[in-house]
Structures are given as C-alpha cells and as structure tokens.
C-alpha cells in the first residue's frame, strides 16, 4: 500500500480539489493520501470548525482515499484548539494534526498543544526546514523539533521535508525515537534520503509529496532511487503511515 502522508488540498472550492486529488492519486497508483486543507484557513477562530466539518463531509464519501489531518494554528486561543481536537480528532474523522509555519514548536506557547496531543496519542506533522535564505516567519527548524521531542517523549512527531532538513537536521533528531521524517518537498537532491535511511532506519521515514506544490510522481521517484530491501521500501511507502496514523481511536 502507498500512502502519501503530505498532501494539501486548497480549501476554496474544495469539492473540485478533492476530485482532482482522487484522479491524481489514481494516476500515480497511490492508495491514500493525507487530507490537509490549505491556504490561510486557520487564521480565524471559527476556521477550525469549518475545517472539521469539511473533513467530515469529505470522509463520508471518500474515506477510501484520504487520511484526514486537522490543520492547527497554535497561535489561536487554546480553548478553541482543545475544542477542535476533542470534536474532530477524538470523535473523528481526523487522525493527526498538521502544524504549518505558524510557530516555532519548542516555544512555551506550544506546550499546551503538545501536551494535549501527547495525552491522546495524536501524531503531529510539522513543517520544518533548515534555511539560510528565504525563511518563513516562525518556521520551525529541526533543532526546534528536537527540543519538542525531548520535552514530550510520548508525542509522535513527523518532521516534514527530509531534504530541507538536510544532514544536520537528521542528526538533530536521530536520538529521539518519537521523531519520524517525511520525504516530501524540495528538489530530489541526491544523498539526503539515503542519509536519512542510513541514520534513522526505514521505520522512521514516511513517504510524502507536498502536493500540489510538488509532484507525487517526482517525489515517488525519490523513494525508488535508493537501493533498499523491498520490506524497507514498503514500510516507507505506506507501512509506517498505517502504523503511525492508524492509532487514534475515535469515540
């Protein structure tokens, strides 16, 4: 099974974008993808409710294609976040949380969110990159992830963008078994995926594309570029996602 753990769907006219996503999944022979709504959706308090409702609508019809994530802006009032988590994660359909570049995740303000997710065994996918230019404001880098992982050892964290995190980023998180890495995004620069595989092992890497910013075909090519045994490849392509994202029980 192939599961793309990093797939964005623009929220405006999402029904059309959902149909396109399904077509593209089928074209690529990808069985499922993360469903992460995108494009400033979570800037206003009520957006979390809109997002959650939309996830429910989509999953009523298309649950065979999607693994729903709730995208959270940790700058929003914690009470609203808690409501959202309780409503759309604990009751479903979401199984994980996505944090975009809205806050460096080792800040004190993120701790209640991390605590909440850790308590309920909810994995979190966090945008992450080591950049020397063109940094986004409040963009987390792997050192922030490492600090978070150390503070919350029971929180399963997926650090996004293996090439963007680079060798040093992988080294930052290597000693935290609760940190996984996705392969999404960036140009498929040679060496980084191999390094991640050698350092972290196949069980801690998840295939992701960063669609629509990046092509699932190109990103899949990265996974096939590196020599590994087929069992490892299966883990990376979908086995790890099944294990990690299948654990949230919905009341």
């Amino acid at each position: 099974m192939i599961i793309d753990c990093h797939w964005h769907v623009y929220f405006d006219h999402y029904e059309k974008n959902i149909e396109k996503s399904i077509n593209d999944l089928k074209r690529c022979h990808i069985d499922k993808c993360a469903l992460m709504f995108y494009q400033g959706l979570y800037q206003k308090d009520e957006d979390l409710q809109l997002q959650g409702q939309a996830l429910r609508e989509v999953m009523k019809v298309h649950k065979d294609h999607f693994v729903p994530f709730l995208v959270i802006d940790p700058n929003v009032d914690f009470g609203i976040i808690k409501e959202g988590v309780e409503e759309y994660l604990l009751k479903g359909p979401a199984v994980a949380v996505k944090i975009h570049h809205s806050m460096k995740v080792d800040r004190k303000k993120f701790e209640p969110v991390a605590d909440l997710l850790s308590l309920h065994g909810i994995p979190v996918l966090i945008h992450c990159w080591y950049k020397t230019v063109q940094e986004y404001e409040n963009e987390s880098d792997p050192s922030n992830i490492a600090n978070l992982a150390a503070k919350f050892p029971d929180l399963n964290i997926i650090m996004a963008h293996i090439t963007g995190c680079g060798y040093r980023g992988l080294q930052d998180v290597a000693k935290y078994p609760n940190v996984y890495v996705d392969t999404s995004g960036s140009q498929p620069e040679d060496g980084f995926f191999q390094y991640g595989l050698d350092l972290l092992g196949a069980k801690r890497i998840l295939f992701g594309s960063d669609f629509p910013g990046r092509d699932p075909a190109t990103q899949l090519g990265r996974i096939y570029s590196v020599d590994m045994c087929e069992d490892d490849r299966k883990l990376i392509l979908g086995g790890n996602a099944v294990r990690l994202l299948g654990g949230v029980s919905h009341g």
Partner: protein
C-alpha cells in the same frame, strides 16, 4: 532512447556529491539506460579560469566519447574568453557553451555576454543556461543567492537571434511563456527541460502550450539529483509516443547535430 542534456562532472564545493567522475557517472547512465549525456565541468564554474576545468573534462571523458558530450563553461567577464571559446569549440571539440551569470560577474545584457551567445550561434552550437544548479534555500554563505534572471534572458535571446539556447532546472514553463513572443521571431530556438516542472499540476501543460514538444528536452541534473524522479515524470506525462521521443532524444539529437 534517452539523451540527458544536463549532467555535471567534478567537484561541488558546498557538499559532497557522488558519481561525479566520468567512470562512475557512466555506470549510473548504464543503470538508467541513458544513451548519451551532455556534461559540463562543475570545477570550471568555480575556478578563477574556467578554461582549466574545460581542459580537465575534455581529458576525463575521452574514454567515453560515444556516451559523453562536453559543453564548455565560458565566463565572458574573464580575459581572453574569446580565445577560450574558439579553443573549446574548434580544438577541443566541445559541443556547446554553458553560461552561469549568477556565478560569474556579468549580466546577460552586457556586451560580452551577447557577443558570446552570437559566436555560439555562428559556430552552430547551443548555449545552455541553467536557472540554478541547486535550490538556493539552503545555500552556503559563499554560494550565490541569484538565479537566472528571466528579463535578462529574454533580452539575450533577442540580441542573439540565430543561437539555440537550453534552459534547465527551473520554472521553465514560466520562462517559456514569458519568452514565447520573442522566441517565435528568432531563427534560433529556446529549449526547456522539465527537471523542475511538475507533470501533475498545470506547469507541464503550460510548458507544452508555450514551447511545444519540439522545444522540450530531457535533463536530470545528474549527479546532483536522484534520477528516478525525472524518469517517473516521463511515465506520467500526458503526451503521445512521438512527442515523448522528441522530448527524450530527438530534440537533443537535433541540437547536438547527431545522426
């Protein structure tokens, strides 16, 4: 058949890369069934005198002359560049010119850059300008923060009307759209690769619309990038077999004047 128009040999100063000598490069080509690759010298980009890199690569590829074709790296801001150009094309048998205006101190609008492009056209060899060599977001502090300037590029192709150009490793769909009008009035043509053009979003369709399959070529960025990623694109692009052949080798063969 596959002709890869964007390969490199030599040292990349900002991180370790693999398979960057001729022997191991050709082994990778064998693995991916790439029949022929154009290569240029990464060393030349960073040497004060690019000619030293051009001489090195000419020697390095001699045992593989049926598989590897070298393009020269010329810096038109360096003394004696015209002599170097002549040596590369006439004596060393190099089949094209690489220009790196973001690594060398000139703009494509300057007189010497225009002159170089026209000389290439007169000699019947293409000029290849990568949009960048790698993603700048994690650049080393000594690495350039610039990429190919589209406006400067369009000015260059206008001022070198008989020269063929290759643009690679960037938003070539956007460049093709911007350059379409100027390019349509030229005898020479601009060719675009798809290294950073995705086939699942509108980018590839817009490149097809702006340039047509006759002006799209195949490049991998070997050994700086994983090659499977480009081959997977070939599988998923919505083109006829004939168009795919144009992209994978026929356009390149025409550019390189191969039989």
């Amino acid at each position: 058949m596959i002709i890869d128009l964007c390969g490199y040999l030599g040292h990349w100063p900002f991180r370790k890369i693999n398979n960057n000598d001729a022997q191991s490069f050709v082994k990778v080509m064998d693995e991916y069934k790439i029949n022929m690759s154009v290569v240029s010298s990464l060393n030349a980009v960073f040497y004060k005198d690019t000619m030293q890199g051009n001489e090195e690569i000419t020697q390095d590829i001699k045992p593989y002359s049926d598989r590897l074709v070298a393009f020269s790296v010329i810096n038109p801001a360096y003394p004696a560049w015209e002599k170097d150009f002549a040596t590369c094309i006439e004596k060393l048998g190099m089949k094209g010119v690489m220009m790196f205006p973001y690594y060398h101190p000139y703009r494509l609008t300057e007189a010497n850059a225009v002159k170089l492009a026209n000389l290439a056209g007169e000699a019947g060899v293409p000029v290849h300008i990568p949009v960048s060599i790698i993603n700048v977001r994690q650049r080393h502090w000594m690495d350039t923060n610039d990429v190919l300037n589209t406006g400067d590029f369009i000015s260059l192709i206008k001022n070198a009307p008989n020269t063929d150009f290759i643009v690679s490793n960037g938003a070539t769909n956007a460049i093709a759209s911007a350059a379409k009008d100027v390019d349509s009035k030229r005898k020479g043509k601009v060719y675009y690769d798809i290294q950073r053009v995705e086939v699942f979003n509108p980018a590839f369709d817009s490149l097809m619309k702006a340039a047509g399959p006759e002006q799209i070529v195949f490049g991998t960025g070997n050994p700086l990038q994983y090659l499977d990623t480009q081959f997977v694109k070939l599988q998923y692009m919505n083109v006829t077999d004939e168009q795919k052949d144009m992209i994978t080798y026929k356009n390149a063969a025409k550019l390189l004047k191969l039989n």
